[in-house]
Symmetry: C2
């Protein structure tokens, strides 16, 4: 992609309402555009990042046997009446057709996945089953804020597991927890696992996966020595207490953003929809279900909150919109211009994604500032001074290196 053709380019003006780093930087760098509070458009570079995060999550789910589907956003009212959610869930968006039919916009998909799974599962032989999707969710939040951290419309991976026994659910609960930690690690994040309340419909404990960031909206207590971590909402301990787990560390409080959760749904939904399965011994049992969420668009915001400096975003390689930001200087010089064009083609030929700043009427300083703002991992400069080695700088390092093209390709791949 040539920068001169790119929609949309960087802007100097920060967005008016921006209350967080992710909102400010993602808008200025041309990744997202706010349509209204909590609702964003994803621009070409932003959509690439969103898809890259989605792909990391997808691979994590496929590895533990997840099967990807895509369920509707528009749900029939009847399904939500069956579970009690129609009246009880205050953040549920409702739609009325011109013939007065009512629908809900999916905020979670138990109401759809339970009848879907059970209608195609005949016996214990088809279980356990792990079905997931990456899809847009809708929540009627009173206050949508913090850029793409808390949206009314947001992209989520939601997986639902079905089991013939509670023990089998508990086994998989641990498998999914490990898969989640691996996903966050691949994204460059360290997530703390807290226990929290189970939400609207269960008194069970759930797992929340928290990344420490001041832009978050949760308060957690964590141990300075061990893995102990708890949401203050349900904590029976307080700041400064000795850790109840290791008895060595002290509890500290921190602000965090929830980037994932796992709920024990028990038999609520299979009982609500009356979907028992037959066991090997011919007994009937209502399957046990779990729900496993990861906020994809929120993760994009959290990554920006964690990886930035005063000049812009610093994307981790695995989610970066492009691998190389090729900065062409002195492009009014025909020789330099054709050298830069050749290099652009060579990167494309090697299947290395590259954003080529081909503008001739823009200063070197402005081009470097844009490269820093956008945050692509490898910056390569071509100018009058360029010889047979390339001037390469990683966005997350201060030093410039001089490398042969083949050596650079080897590093990137």
């Amino acid at each position: 992609m040539k920068y001169s053709h790119l929609f949309a380019k960087t802007t100097k003006q920060p967005p008016k309402e921006a209350d967080t780093i992710n909102h400010k930087l993602l808008t200025q760098a041309g990744f997202v555009d706010q349509l209204m509070a909590g609702v964003y458009s994803y621009l070409p570079l932003g959509l690439k990042v969103l898809n890259n995060i989605g792909q990391v999550v997808r691979e994590g789910m496929d590895e533990i046997g997840g099967q990807e589907v895509l369920m509707p956003i528009m749900h029939p009212k009847a399904n939500w009446v069956t579970t009690g959610g129609w009246d009880k869930v205050d953040i549920l968006f409702k739609v009325k057709s011109r013939t007065e039919k009512e629908y809900a916009l999916g905020m979670s998909e138990e109401e759809v996945v339970t009848p879907l799974v059970m209608s195609r599962v005949n016996s214990y032989k088809d279980l356990p089953l792990y079905v997931y999707q990456i899809g847009w969710k809708y929540r009627d939040e009173l206050r949508a804020k913090s850029g793409i951290l808390r949206g009314r419309e947001f992209l989520m991976k939601d997986m639902y597991s079905s089991h013939t026994s509670y023990e089998d659910f508990q086994r998989f609960y641990q498998v999914a927890k490990q898969a989640y930690l691996k996903i966050y690690k691949r994204l460059g994040l360290v997530a703390k696992v807290t226990e929290a309340s189970g939400g609207s419909f269960t008194d069970k404990i759930s797992y929340e996966f928290m990344v420490l960031t001041d832009a978050g909206e949760d308060e957690i207590l964590y141990c300075t020595e061990c893995d102990f971590c708890v949401n203050v909402e349900i904590a029976k301990v307080k700041v400064g207490d000795k850790c109840p787990n290791c008895k060595k560390g002290v509890l500290k409080q921190a602000t965090a953003s929830e980037v994932g959760n796992i709920f024990d749904l028990g038999q609520k939904y299979t009982k609500d929809f009356n979907f028992p399965v037959t066991l090997e011994n011919r007994e009937k049992v209502y399957p046990y279900m779990g729900c496993y969420g990861i906020g994809i668009s929120r993760l994009m915001g959290v990554i920006v909150e964690k990886f930035n400096d005063e000049t812009g975003i610093i994307w981790p390689d695995v989610v970066a919109p492009m691998k190389v930001h090729l900065v062409g200087l002195d492009l009014e010089d025909k020789k330099v211009n054709s050298q830069a064009e050749d290099l652009y083609k060579k990167f494309n030929h090697e299947d290395i994604s590259v954003l080529y700043d081909d503008r001739v009427d823009v200063s070197a300083g402005a081009k470097f500032a844009d490269a820093d703002l956008i945050g692509i991992p490898y910056r390569v400069v071509v100018s009058k001074k360029t010889t047979d080695t390339l001037e390469v700088k990683r966005r997350d390092q201060k030093e410039t290196e001089f490398l042969q093209f083949t050596e650079l390709v080897r590093r990137i791949k």
Copy 2:
């Protein structure tokens, strides 16, 4: 993917309400599941087909300079009031929040893309610009029917072009038309291009791309000799007339499904949102816009309507959910079983997608029937009789061939 693990498997029972071949076959083969009239879940194999069609369309748009974005589904009421659509568009779904705020669900995105594009376009130098997305659309249809051909929720590619002059729009209109015809050709379809009325907001003529199929909902007149084609809604000719274009052929009537359209939007939206751009001569002009739609989920239905026989679906290679359907017979025999497993691994190793029917308690007849129903291009059988050549049958041919593994791989790739 092993068939024993696949969610969801084939079903013998056709869906109750199925009024079309696509609804019947896609449901029985386990590709989609109807949640309510006009709203479907895409199951693992169905989602792969949907993504494959989307990818063909994406490549076609990228080739002509399209830039992919993703705009919101939930729109602020104000934008639809600005264009007059809030009161005039009867198929617009409306949402009210708990604080009585009103939103529209996107049925098309002029109301979002116009302010988005114009807020980031400063001068004539940034135009022309072609922005597109592949996203879910919502239409409050009185009668949703014909399986996934006419949905209340459906997947669409919608591109919007912006130009400084009407002439430039007309130039690109032809470029897009050729790109569309190439896309349909890649999908194995022959589309006729008709002229039709321009829809709610313009008296201009638009292009419609029609595929002849009895499940369609449009009636067209076409010439037996030349490319002349017109929607009967605006036709000034009738069946049996001499073709007004070539003066040789005779006009025939046929039922067709609209798989794409191109609208000349003129300056309506740029004027509504008051977004002029500055030309080189410092004059201001309201950009001319075009809208270019392709129904992705509808195309999936149309492809099934066109490519099927009495036993099931026959997917064109480019959209097929998998390349190979490996049918294992005599799997109670350990030697055959390990031979089939090895072959399954070898296909995976070659990055050739394969559905392996590994069931041991199912007859050969039932397995062949499932393979025919699902419609994957290459069926490969492993049984006691298998020697060092493989028994291969293409779904769209009657003859069985015997091939070496490497020869089969070469053909598939």
